[in-house]
Each structure stands twice: as structure tokens, then as C-alpha cells.
């Protein structure tokens, strides 16, 4: 496969899932688009040098989201209107509303676990924290969801 075909395939294949991943982390479509585009394109020229491109890009998106979100938080001082894209059924909306109110790292850990299905060790690598912290973040996030959704 020629280099141009490889890159075109790379971009075509990964853009949509990258946006979705970033959207679940941020709750913002606009932010997700920017993060996905910037991260994918930044990675393109370095693919051959990476031992584990999926893990690297995953962490890069998480990091870029965290960086962008911090800047936004410092400007706006609060989070509003997350996961407002499209129409979802009421049960999903309930979960989304709670997810939107979770601390960012709890939300990130939950997305990595329950959307990407990653084990604690890979979540820890992605978030650059101990596995104990991952367990804590997921546990606290689920506790909050249970409490606010009235789940046992």
C-alpha cells in the first residue's frame, strides 16, 4: 500500500471513532472534533516509530482532552450543556446527565472501562496513574451514578 493510501485509510478509519471517543470524554461535539483531528494528524507522521499506536493515540486523546478542558474550565468556571448532541432515549439521557456532572477523571475512567472495555492496567497507563487510583475513580463514579439514578 502506498503511503498516501495508508494515510488516507488511517484517517478515514480512525476519524469517526476518535471523535466519538473524544465526545464521550468531553460531552462536546465541537471539542471532540478538534481534539480528534489534531491528535490524529499529529500522530500520522510518527506511526512507524510507535510500538503501540493504539495505546499511544488513546492516551494522546485523553491528555489533549484534559488540557483543553482545563483551559475551558478556567475560562468559564463551570460545565454546562454536555452530551447535548442529537436525541437519545430517556434512560440514556439520565445516565448522560450524571456523567456530565462527574469529575473529569471519573468520567474518563468510566469511558475507558465501559466503552473501550479496557482493563485497569491499560486504563492506568492511559491516564498515567496507579491502578489503585483507577479502581477508586471507577468505584466512585459508579457510586455516584447509583446514587443519582436510584440504582441499588
Amino acid at each position: 500500500m502506498t503511503s498516501e493510501a495508508s494515510f488516507a485509510e488511517f484517517y478515514r478509519t480512525e476519524f469517526a471513532p476518535a471523535v466519538r471517543f473524544a465526545y464521550l470524554l468531553t460531552g462536546s461535539r465541537e471539542l471532540a472534533e478538534d481534539v480528534a483531528q489534531e491528535t490524529l494528524l499529529a500522530l500520522a507522521s510518527r506511526l512507524a516509530t510507535l510500538q503501540n499506536p493504539p495505546a499511544y493515540l488513546r492516551a494522546a486523546i485523553v491528555n489533549r482532552v484534559a488540557s483543553v478542558r482545563r483551559r475551558e474550565l478556567r475560562r468559564e468556571r463551570r460545565v454546562e450543556g454536555l452530551y447535548s448532541e442529537g436525541h437519545v432515549d430517556p434512560p440514556t439521557r439520565e445516565v448522560a446527565d450524571v456523567l456530565a456532572r462527574l469529575p473529569e477523571r471519573q468520567r474518563t475512567a468510566l469511558v475507558l472501562r465501559y466503552w473501550l472495555g479496557l482493563p485497569n492496567t491499560e486504563i492506568a497507563e492511559t491516564m498515567d496513574c496507579p491502578t489503585g487510583t483507577v479502581k477508586s475513580l471507577i468505584s466512585r463514579g459508579l457510586d455516584r451514578l447509583r446514587a443519582e439514578l436510584g440504582e441499588p
Binding site: S3, E4, A16, F21, A44, A48, T92, R105
Partner: protein, 537 residues
């Protein structure tokens, strides 16, 4: 019965699936047979690519895709030479790189109508947009024209044609300007200096293709390497180059390629968000040897009506209640551990108190925390401080491990991150702090050891919970350099520090350019502050 885990899994899948991503993908206009299949769980199918690919190819691919709907005809230029890169003086802030494919382009202010691309005095392309009235009328829809008058042969920097017009219809002009601009560069600017500037009114009307012009179909030969141009930079970048290298930004440093380290990112802004920090310690050159408390406050992101809980990131914290009834949490520690941590939330901030202090001292300090109406952030009233301890430094974090008394939002702070093939990394930030602030940078680390680097006094910092971390701090040319590293031995770190040399403007441009091609920065997060430091001895 549905568990909470199942419900979260289902909700995340639904939220992701209902997002119509195709509508925002610059490549989505490609033929259907080349469109990606949606993936519900990208983590398992992502990035099966190991071959490097030049971003420039995607630029052209994107342009071809974009042009497909409105391309007026065909006049295929000859295959163009590949390789090479342009080295342009000018402000990096105004540079557009090939890797900017699809990005919104904040670098072009205002109306792009009249912007043109040129080589020397020759105009190669003009960018034409509809007027606001035309947009409002909806008669033509938003569109962007690229009036292509010349294509550059990268080998000779000469114009080889063809002429024509490429019309692109889009509902997101700015981002496509980047694609369009880069397409011109792609067509053969290898090593040539291209510039964009404004000159006259190049309007030819919205979304109309003049019948007198031939259409252009783009072809490309997959050139590799960096291609970029400077916007708004007349006189052309090919103008005089000074014989004496222009110095880079204050504090900008570079490493020789022989070091084996590659730039991951380079910026003249603080890499971190700047959590407010205050240090309360004893006076003297080694305050870390006595009682001290470091106060850090940052916005935790939780809405006002929701308690984010303990932000220490530890499963076994203990909860306490302050005199005013507010809840705080304390990190567990052994009896011999002098370093303690306490966290409390005061919307919208989380406040961390850390340092060589007993839990009782931390609680007393927490009772005395009050918002600082003058300086912002929070302060500990003197009545809540241990005996002999007083405020010694006010500032902000500028990364996980670096701090500054300077306003991080108003100060230039060169910072660079490098890594090698083995994943080892080194990072630094140069802050404009006075020497008097230096003792504050010894606080919050497991061990601090005095040494000498680059012929000046320095100290090495370590963190118990991050055994791969090593840091070193010194002052040079009026700036404080705070270096951190992961995976390097002390000898390796100090060896790299000795190899640092001031970057010229050209060096810095290359570094920032390389950074745009590297992946995202190793983010230095205010949130990770809560998990980084717990000295054991």
C-alpha cells in the same frame, strides 16, 4: 435485572452511536466505497497501522475530496517532485503546516477574501469567499474559491502552471482554507518560500466558475517532508536572512540530534493550567527539612450543586469535619511519614494542603483557609500555621512538578519535551522567577539533593510515588529552569542537561514545527497533583 455497569455501557454506546461524525469529516466526501465503516468500540479496532504516512498526502486527498462536487473540469499538472521542506522565517503563530488538514484555521483573521498565495512577486492563488449578504441570501450557499494561477516546481522554485480555478463548496470555510492553502504548497513548494498576504480585491463572485477559465484537477506524487507557508508575512519569506542567527525566545533550549532525543512539543507558554499555589515554610535555603505546607487550589469542574467528593484519589482516606462544619479528607500515612495531604472542596475549587506537617497541623491550617479577595485563590491565616512557619511564596503550578511566581497567563515560559525511542523523556520549563523564589521549588518532593549543573548551583528532586521521575532545577540567564524526566538515570539526565544550548529562532521554529507533527503533549495536569507526592522519609 440491569446492573449499573450494564446501564453505563449501554448509555455510552448509544451516546457514541447517535453522533453523526461523517458530517464533519473532511474526508467524508470521498467516494462511498472509501468511506469508513463505523466502529462501536474503537479501542479494539483502532490504529492497526504501523507504516508512517506523510500528512501532505491527506492534504491533497482532502482537497481532492472536497473539490469533487464542484470541480469544473480537468487539466492535470505534471507529476511534481517529492521531498524537501521549506524553512521560513516569520512568526510561527502564522504558519500553516500540512498537518493542519481539516483544522479550523484561527490564524486567518477576518475575511479571507483577497488572501493570496505567492512566490516572490508572482501570485499563485487567491482565495475568494462570498459576501455576508450573499451568505445571508442563501442563493449560493457558503463557498470558497481558490483561484489557482500557478503551480510551483519544488525542484527549481519556478512556476510551471497550470492556471485555472478550483471551487469548493463547504459549510465550514475556515477549516477548508487550511486544506486549500496546503494544496498549493503540496503542488510543489518543496523548499520554496510561499507566502500569503492580502492584495486588492480578488473577488470573482460566490460559487460561480468563470467560463473563461479551465478547471484544474489535482494530482500528486506523495511528497514527504514539511511544507508550510506564512500568512500575512509580506515581504515574502524569501527576503533577507540575517547573517547572525536570531536568538530564540527567552529560555528556549535545544538538544543536539546526537542526544537521541526528539522533540515532542515546544511552546513559549506554560504547559500547565496554572493551579494557584502558596507555600508556607520556615526561612532559609533548605525549607524542605523543616515543617512546611503547600496550598494548591484549582477548579475541579463540578457544578455548584454537586459535591465532587474527596479529590485525593486514594481509596483509604479518612474524613474529618472542620470547625465550620465543612468536610475534608486526609490521605493515610504511616506513623513515621512526615508528609501529609489534606483535600477540601469550596466550589468551584478544590484545595489541597500538603507538606511536612502532622494531620493536626493540616487540619488547623484548613480551619484557617480563606479566600484571598485581593490576590485570588486561597490563603491560610497566620493563626492556622505551625510555629515558625509563614508565607514564603505565592504563584502557580505550570506543570505537574514545576511552579512559578509569575502569572502563567501573562508570562512567556519556554518549555520543551523530548523523548527517545525507548520512551524515556525529558521536559523543562524556564520561568522568569527571581532567585528568592528558588527555595520554594524544593518543597513537595521526597528528596532534594544539592548539586552543580552547567557550572551553577542546582538541586535534584525525586518523588517516592513516581520512581521513574527525576528532576533538576537551576538558574541561568535570569531564568529558573525546572527539568523533569521519566525513565532516565541521574547521570543520563545530568548529561542531557549539560548538552542543552540556547535555541536560535531557526532552532525554535524547527522545534515547534516538529512538535506539530508529534503527538499530543505529555499533559501536565492540575488534577494529577493529588496523586504525585507522598514522601516516605
Amino acid at each position: 435485572m440491569t446492573t449499573i455497569e450494564e446501564r453505563v455501557t449501554d448509555a455510552l454506546a448509544r451516546l457514541a452511536e447517535q453522533l453523526d461524525v461523517a458530517g464533519v469529516d473532511p474526508l467524508a466526501a470521498m467516494p462511498p466505497s472509501r468511506s469508513p465503516a463505523p466502529s462501536r468500540h474503537p479501542g479494539r479496532a483502532w490504529w492497526p497501522f504501523v507504516a508512517a504516512a506523510a500528512a501532505i498526502v491527506a492534504v491533497v486527498g482532502g482537497l481532492v475530496a472536497l473539490s469533487g462536487r464542484d470541480r469544473p473540469g480537468s487539466a492535470v499538472p505534471a507529476t511534481l517532485p517529492s521531498g524537501g521542506s521549506s524553512t521560513l522565517p516569520g512568526s510561527p503563530d502564522w504558519a500553516v503546516a500540512a498537518a493542519d488538514l481539516g483544522r479550523r484555521l484561527p490564524a486567518i483573521p477576518g475575511d479571507t477574501a483577497g488572501l493570496q498565495v505567492g512566490l516572490g512577486e508572482d501570485v499563485l492563488a487567491r482565495f475568494v469567499e462570498p459576501t455576508s449578504a450573499e451568505r445571508a441570501s442563501g442563493a449560493t450557499g457558503p463557498c470558497l474559491h481558490i483561484e489557482l494561477e500557478g503551480v510551483v516546481d519544488g525542484a527549481t522554485c519556478s512556476i510551471v502552471g497550470p492556471t485555472g480555478l478550483l471551487a469548493i463548496t463547504t459549510d465550514s470555510d475556515a477549516r477548508y482554507v487550511a486544506v486549500a492553502v496546503n494544496s498549493v504548497v503540496t503542488l510543489g513548494a518543496n523548499g520554496c518560500d510561499l507566502v500569503i498576504g492580502t492584495s486588492g480585491d480578488a473577488r470573482i463572485g460566490a460559487c460561480r466558475v468563470p467560463a473563461t477559465r479551465d478547471g484544474v484537477e489535482l494530482s500528486f506524487g506523495a511528497p514527504d517532508g514539511a511544507h508550510r507557508l506564512v500568512i500575512g508575512g509580506f515581504p515574502p519569506a524569501s527576503a533577507t536572512v540575517a547573517s547572525t542567527p536570531e536568538p530564540g525566545p527567552d529560555g528556549a533550549m535545544t538538544l543536539p540530534s546526537a542526544s537521541g532525543m526528539h522533540v515532542q512539543w515546544a511552546t513559549n507558554e506554560p504547559p500547565g493550567a496554572g493551579a494557584d499555589q502558596r507555600r508556607y515554610a520556615t526561612s532559609g535555603p533548605q525549607p524542605e527539612t523543616a515543617t512546611y505546607i503547600r496550598l494548591t487550589s484549582y477548579v475541579n469542574g463540578a457544578p455548584a450543586d454537586h459535591d465532587p467528593g474527596c479529590m485525593l484519589g486514594d481509596e483509604s482516606v479518612t474524613s474529618e469535619t472542620l470547625a465550620d462544619g465543612a468536610a475534608v479528607c486526609l490521605a493515610p500515612r504511616g506513623e513515621s511519614e512526615p508528609f501529609g495531604r489534606l483535600a477540601m472542596n469550596r466550589w468551584p475549587d478544590t484545595i489541597l494542603l500538603e507538606g511536612n506537617a502532622t494531620d493536626a497541623e493540616l487540619l488547623a491550617a484548613a480551619d484557617a483557609v480563606a479566600a484571598d479577595p485581593v490576590g485570588g485563590g486561597f490563603d491560610i491565616d497566620a493563626t492556622g500555621l505551625p510555629a515558625g512557619v509563614a508565607l514564603t511564596g505565592t504563584g502557580a503550578s505550570v506543570s505537574d512538578f514545576a511552579s512559578s511566581a509569575a502569572d502563567p497567563t501573562a508570562s512567556s515560559m519556554a518549555s520543551v519535551s523530548w523523548s527517545d525511542q525507548a520512551g524515556r523523556s525529558m521536559f523543562y520549563v524556564a520561568t522568569p522567577d527571581d532567585e528568592s523564589f528558588l527555595p520554594n521549588l524544593r518543597l513537595g518532593f521526597t528528596a532534594v539533593t544539592d548539586t552543580t549543573v552547567r557550572g551553577v548551583p542546582a538541586f535534584v528532586r525525586t518523588l517516592a510515588e513516581q520512581p521513574g521521575y527525576l528532576g533538576v532545577v537551576w538558574r541561568e540567564d535570569g531564568r529558573t529552569f525546572q527539568v523533569g524526566s521519566q525513565g532516565l538515570t541521574l547521570d543520563e539526565l545530568l548529561g542531557l542537561v549539560e548538552q542543552l544550548r540556547p535555541a536560535t529562532a531557526a532552532d525554535w521554529s524547527d522545534m515547534t514545527d516538529a512538535a506539530t507533527r508529534a503527538t499530543a503533549p505529555m499533559v501536565v495536569s492540575t488534577t494529577t497533583i493529588v496523586t504525585t507526592t507522598r514522601p516516605t522519609g
